[in-house]
Amino acid sequence: MFDRGISSGFQSDETAACSGDAALLSVSGLVFEIAGKTLLQIQSLDIPAGGTTVIMGPNGAGKSLLLRLMHGLLPASQGSIRMTGKPLTAALCRRQAMVFQSPVILRRSVRANVEFALAANGVPWRSRRKRALEVLSATGLGNKAKQAARSLSGGEQQKLAVVRALATEPEILFLDEPTSNLDPASVLAIERLLRAASAAGTKVVLVTHDLGQARRLGDEVLFLHRGQVVEQTPMKRFVDAPVSTEAAAYVSGELLV
């Protein structure tokens, strides 16, 4: 469905590095503070290339904050974030994409939404429309290409947000609770997209509270609690035998605050 090699335009030795076993994202000594209060503190964290990493934890654990820091939307108070071994720069951030909990849909047609993302990514205008229509057709939104994007249902809008993000063929796709307010059919449609993207080589980093979704999609889990990484472990082990007491409580359905 998504072929990152077709028109990404930035295939280089850096991309080659992403496909190996080396960490795609490395976080070191990361601290994020607001008004003297530390909201996130991560000594060391490596997110591997390939597959899907699920970030879980109770509200206020710092999941969305970590996503925003890794995507360059927020500056860290201290520490560093590296992508493919290099400090995170604007150019590297453009090789990532993010989908927010509430989809931000531009006030234009479905096709124009995708075209805008392609334009922002430097795709020449001659090939934008063709590429947008290809992506929309491949994801079942082709018959809605001319429709006003904001007239789509909530589920379709979130699907469009995912498709728009994937149209730019990112190396990393961050998703912040993308299906939290959607019906099962819409959740299924989005999970299919994420599986296809992951299979095509895009690294998926997903924040979710839904343990079922985490099991369906995740290869590994990053469990955060009170701004710290409590556990980073393969999905099966996280579900079957979590190491930390916090993760164990979370998995067993206890209220963790």
Binding site: C93, A97, V104, R107, R108, F116, A120, N121, A148, S151
Partner: protein, 235 residues
């Protein structure tokens, strides 16, 4: 009362009879005001959008200043433009005083802050919603301006129409810098003032009726655009 009724009936005759002088005045008014609004949009919209998305020292003060300039007294603007364009003024060499160009300049000064302030409000609201997504897509603040202006196009039409409403109904500035010269700089508002003082109520009433109809049309257009925007792009 009978005089007024008679004058009103005569004014309707002028309007529907296609009186050449009346419609020539309307044409000059539209030409001057539409040109002024067009220039005001060209300058005011980018300025408003820049203030909306920019993060710089003095931004708050600039917003207050632009908002305050929305209430510029037309006669003061007329006086300043007159002094600048008069023979002894810095722009006197252009010989623009008592020409439609001078009137366009005066109306441009009056309308630009209105367009800029309303654009700032529209774009800032939109930017609050879009900012993270645009940054995620790698769009810089400067490059986000055209996208924000385009996505706010229906709301911005209200700014344009508000500016036009101010320009077409303005009398003080155009009277001073235009001189109310027949067939050259005589517009609806200055004609109404002149003809009323002369006791020629029928022409004044005819122009007043057209002016009021324009005000209704502008407001109806705003309402229609609002509902159209909800229907077409689901704001």
């Amino acid at each position: 009362m009978a005089d007024f009724a008679g004058a009103f009936l005569q004014s309707l005759g002028l309007i529907f009879g296609g009186d050449a002088e009346l419609w020539a005045i309307v044409a000059i008014s539209l030409k001057v005001s539409l040109t002024a609004v067009a220039f005001a949009c060209l300058i005011g919209m980018p300025i408003g959008a820049w203030i909306a998305v920019g993060r710089f020292r003095g931004r708050r003060g600039l917003i207050v200043a632009v908002n305050a300039l929305m209430g510029l007294p037309p006669v003061v603007v007329g006086l300043v433009v007159y002094l600048m364009l008069s023979n002894s003024g810095p722009l006197g060499v252009l010989q623009l005083l008592y020409t439609p160009s001078a009137m366009i300049l005066a109306q441009f000064i009056l309308v630009t802050p209105i367009v800029a302030a309303l654009t700032r409000q529209v774009v800032e609201t939109l930017n609050d919603e879009y900012a993270d997504q645009l940054r995620s897509l790698g769009v810089s603040r400067l490059r986000s301006v055209p996208a924000l202006l385009w996505d706010g196009r229906f709301a911005l039409t209200t700014a344009v129409l508000a500016g036009f409403g101010r320009a077409i109904a303005e009398v003080g500035a155009v009277m001073i810098v235009g001189g109310n010269i027949n067939h050259v700089t005589r517009v609806m508002t200055t004609t109404i003032a002149l003809e009323t003082s002369k006791g020629n109520l029928s022409l004044a009433l005819a122009l007043g009726t057209i002016l009021i109809l324009m005000a209704f049309t502008v407001n109806a257009a705003v309402a229609l655009l609002d509902s159209a925007s909800r229907r077409v792009i689901h704001v």
